[in-house]
Amino acid sequence: MNTDSVTNAIPSNVPAHLVQDFDLWAALTAQGENAYAWAAKLHESMPPIFWVPSLGFLPGTWIPRRSEELRRILQDPETFSSAGLTPYPMLLGESWRLAPLEVDPPDHAKYRALLNPLFTPKKVNALEEDIRQLATQLIDDIAQTGRCDFNEDFAKPFPTLIFLKLMSWPLEHRPLFQHWTQTLIKSSDPQVVTDNAREITGWIRARIAECRANPGDDFTSYLLASQIDGRPLTDDEMLGINFLIFIGGLDTVTSTIGLFFRHLARNPEQQAQLRADPSLISDAVEEMLRSYSIVNMRRTVARDVQIGEATMKKGDIVLISTELANLDPEVFDQPEKVDFLRSAGHAPHMAFSYGVHRCVGSHLARRELRIALELWLTKVPPFRIASGTTPRFNAFGIFGMEELHLEWDVEETK
C-alpha cells in the first residue's frame, strides 16, 4: 500500500484554512495521560469541521468536533455510508463486509435483527451471575498480592471470558482471542493487522465448517440456522458477522476498563467517594464512559453535502470521534472534568454511538463495567499506579491503556 501518495493529497474541495496538519490519533497518543484534556481543548482551537491529511495508515479525513453535527451525521446513513469503514477485508484482498456494522439501511436491519436478541437487557440479566463469578475469581487471585498488571490480570481476561461464554465458544481459546483482538485493533502496522486478520478469518472459517458438520448451541451454529430474506446466510455473511463480533465484543471493554481504573488510581478522592457510596457506581460508569470514550468510527460521504463551511464530496471520509462529541463544551460544562454527580442518571453521551449502528452490546458492556467496579472496590483496598511504572495510553483506532500496573497495601493476615 502506497500510503504517502494517499495521505499527502488534499482534495480540491477542502479549503486551505480547514486543513489542520496533524494526525489526531498520533497526537492523542503522544499526549498520554493528558490526551482527553487536550482533546477537550480542540473545541477551542479548531473549526467546527476540519480536515486532517492522515490518520495512522488511513487516508485524510474530515473531523467534525461538535456533538450536534456528529449526531446528525450518525442519523443520516443515506448521506454518510458505513460501507467499507474497516480496512480488514480490503487488507486481505477479500470482499466480505462486517455485518451489520458496514451495512447501510435498509439491509442493515436484517442483520441487526439477528444480533439484537442476544444482547437484550433480559439476556444480560441472565448473565449477571456468570459475570460476577468470573470477576470474583480474577480479583481473588490478585487481591492478596498487593500489585497487578491490570491488563493481563483483569482487563483482558474478564471480557474475553464473558464473551466466550456468551458465544459458547471454547473457553480455552482465551489467550488466542486476547492476542488477536489487541493486535488487530491496536497495531498501527498494516502488515501486523493483515496477518492477524488472516489468522482470525482462518479460525472463523474453521469454526463455521465445524458447526456445519456438527451443529451445537453456539453463536456460529445459531447463525447457520438463521435466515435473511428467507434464505440461509452465505459464507461471506457468516464470516463478516463473526468477525464483527470479535471486534465489538472483546477489546472495547478491556480498553474502557483500563481508562476507568487509571482514573480511579490517579484520583484517590473519587475512588473514596465510590467506596463510601456504591450507589454512585452506575453514574460513575456513565460519566467515565463520557469522559473516556474510546471508539473512532468512519463514514463515507455517499452524496455531496454541505455542513457549515465544509463542502463534502462523494467519496470523502468523515471521522466519527466519540471522544470529541463527549467533550463538547456546548453539551457538557467543563467537559474535561470527571464528575460522578454530573449526569444524575442519564447523560446524553455518545460513547455507544448513535443512530441505527448504536452499539448492540451496550447493555452488556455497562453491566460488565459496573460489576467490575463494584467488586474491585469491595475486595481490593485503595489502589494507585504501581511505583516505578508509567501508564501508557494508545489512541490508534480504539483508544486504551497499553500498560497499566496498579498496587495497594495488603494487610498482614495472621
Partner: protein, 55 residues
C-alpha cells in the same frame, strides 16, 4: 400529554425503557410493544427523557 410510538422504526436499543422503565413497555425481544400511551401528570419529564433517549 400523549406519547406516539413509530413502531416500525424501533431497532430494539431499549434506551427508552432503561431511562423510563415504567412507561415504555417492551416485548420479549426488548422491542417497543406499545404504539403509544397517555402520560400522567408528574411523569411528563420522565416520558420526555425516555423519548429523547431513542437513538
Amino acid at each position: 400529554m400523549k406519547i406516539i410510538v413509530d413502531n416500525k422504526a424501533c431497532a430494539g436499543h431499549a434506551r427508552c425503557n432503561e431511562v423510563a422503565p415504567g412507561l415504555y413497555e417492551l416485548d420479549d425481544n426488548d422491542y417497543i410493544s406499545t404504539d403509544g400511551f397517555d402520560v400522567e401528570v408528574g411523569q411528563q419529564a420522565l416520558a420526555r427523557r425516555g423519548a429523547r433517549a431513542c437513538p
